[in-house]
Amino acid sequence: MSRNCVFVYSEQFLQYKFHDDHPFNQLRVKLTYDLLRTLGALDDRHIVTPRMATDDELALIHDRSYIEAVKAAGRGGLSEAAALNYGLGTEDTPVFPNMHEASALLVGSTLTAVDAVLSGAAEHALNLGGGLHHGFRGKASGFCVYNDSAVAIQYIREKYGLRVLYVDTDAHHGDGVQWAFYDDPNVCTFSIHETGRYLFPGTGNVNERGHGAGYGYSFNIPLDAFTEDESWLYAYTTALREIADFFRPDVIVTQNGVDAHYYDPLTHLSVTMKTYRIIPKLAHQIAHEYCNGRWIAVGGGGYDIWRVVPRAWALLWLEMTGQADVSGPLPDDWRQRWQPLSPVTLPLEWDDPDNLYPPIPRKAEISEKNAQTVEKALYFIRSQRRAGT
């Protein structure tokens, strides 16, 4: 087991809750926590209780007027029309009691993870409560109120002065983080996601490369619907290796949305647990090759909270702590504890069966198109490298 990894956790994460039928449900963090506890892979010495982010910290990214609006909305003191101007009270981000406190805690948790790693207390840190990458400067969007990752990256820039590589493997484009650092050459953002042709938020095109001094420091790989493991992993490993080699970061922040899975109701990428083993494995290697191990991982999307998220996020922690050699059946205790609450049958094993879904037509064409997209995304890096050698 690795000498020191931190798992930021609090039951208070569950307070970030829009309503009972909303797809964003932080119960998934508790399900993951309980799976890891049951497995014996997580104990008290790993766990750090998060703090709340201060208003000044939130203001590293967010407008003060927006922070005040969120506070007022959470106390029932904001009119419907005023709320809508801030993206609050929509189908995606309805107003809920104390929404400021619940949202600021998620940001504070990611800052707790950052401080654990950058103070030198830990090598890696995980905050599954974070990863709310759609939050904008002055607007809630896509289930996200405050953008913990963007605040954390700006916090790293101001407090530690390090160059940050942000890697976003959520099935949705990491728009909020990208736009926050679009003109900053010290923050390199890389998002791999399902094409915005149909899927929210619609951005994340391959030609979004940054602006001004930050031109060439935003990378996007929009993959076709029905991509599947093989083509997804080709794109991810090829691009992350080349981007890391180009940017040579001091610290890596990974957003680990796990909504690209076949079972996820909101997306169509059709990957399996195979992908969720490789994502943290490569991120871990990159952290050691370039960043002296400095790696902060956060959660993100994930809307099949029973069959997908606990396994995928547990594998992330197991990889981080050098315990990823699990396979076969999931702990029986865990399944028995949660099955009565789950509307679907919980999976029996860590890995998905080979016949999880029927074969998808046009696989060869989809893979070929994705490979072309990777080529376009890396065009400038590759031409610079050719010119330099």
Binding site: P23, E91, G142, Y198, F200, G202, P265, I360
Partner: protein, 214 residues
């Protein structure tokens, strides 16, 4: 949408007495491909494009020959039969001019004076923005019978979910008995809406990948 809302101003221009060498330098400096030529009052006299200038330049195999040609004024080679647009034209009309005349740019003229310019690139960006993709949203396509009232019925269902529509596009299906309605809706979770549309008997394509989704 009107041309005056999307045209570029101010316009980088030439005078008839500017040399070909000056015109080339201006193109490179501003990274553009079209230079209108105007008089002192701003009346449009002609147009010089990067292609015209290349035709007037020595070949790369004879870079140092006939250099005096580059000192000739642009009035000797500019096009004078220029297709122009008006600030109050609809963007769709301007787009049609590009197709009809196979042109790369459209100088916009008001009272005989040059007031702006639109290039193919500007037009494409405008059409992309008209589809609403620059705002966060999901796109769903609904296949409906080619009959009156279908758009209204589908839009009513979306309104019932309190979901804002960013843009709507309507195009014919390959089967002439059907049309495809494309909605860009401001939500990350279109699932409940898709269920409503399906319950109302509509065919929803999300995503629409022929051979895979149908």
């Amino acid at each position: 949408m009107l041309v005056e809302q999307v045209m570029k101003t101010p316009v980088v221009t030439l005078r008839a007495t500017n040399t070909i060498a000056e015109a080339l330098q201006l193109l490179r400096h501003h990274r553009i491909r079209h230079l209108p030529v105007v008089d002192d009052e701003g009346h449009l006299l002609g147009l010089v494009t990067d292609r015209d200038l290349r035709d007037a330049s020595p070949s790369i195999f004879h870079l140092h020959e006939h250099l005096d040609d580059l000192q000739k004024p642009v009035s000797t080679m500019m096009k004078t039969d220029v297709v122009v647009g008006h600030p109050l034209d609809f963007v769709e009309e301007a787009a049609a001019l590009f197709y009809e005349h196979r042109i790369g740019c459209l100088p916009i003229v008001n009272n005989g004076k040059l007031v702006g310019i639109i290039t193919q690139t500007d037009l494409l960006r405008t059409f992309i923005e008209l589809t609403g993709v620059h705002q966060p949203g999901s796109q769903i396509e609904v296949k409906v019978p080619n009959e009156a009232g279908m758009l209204g019925k589908a839009a009513t269902i979306i309104g019932g979910r309190h979901i804002n529509i960013a843009s709507v596009l309507l195009y014919p299906d390959r089967d002439p008995n059907y049309k495809i309605l494309v909605f860009r809706v401001q939500t990350m979770n279109p699932i409940p809406l898709i269920r409503d549309l399906q319950n109302a008997g509509y065919r929803v394509l999300w995503p629409n990948l022929p051979g895979v989704t149908s």
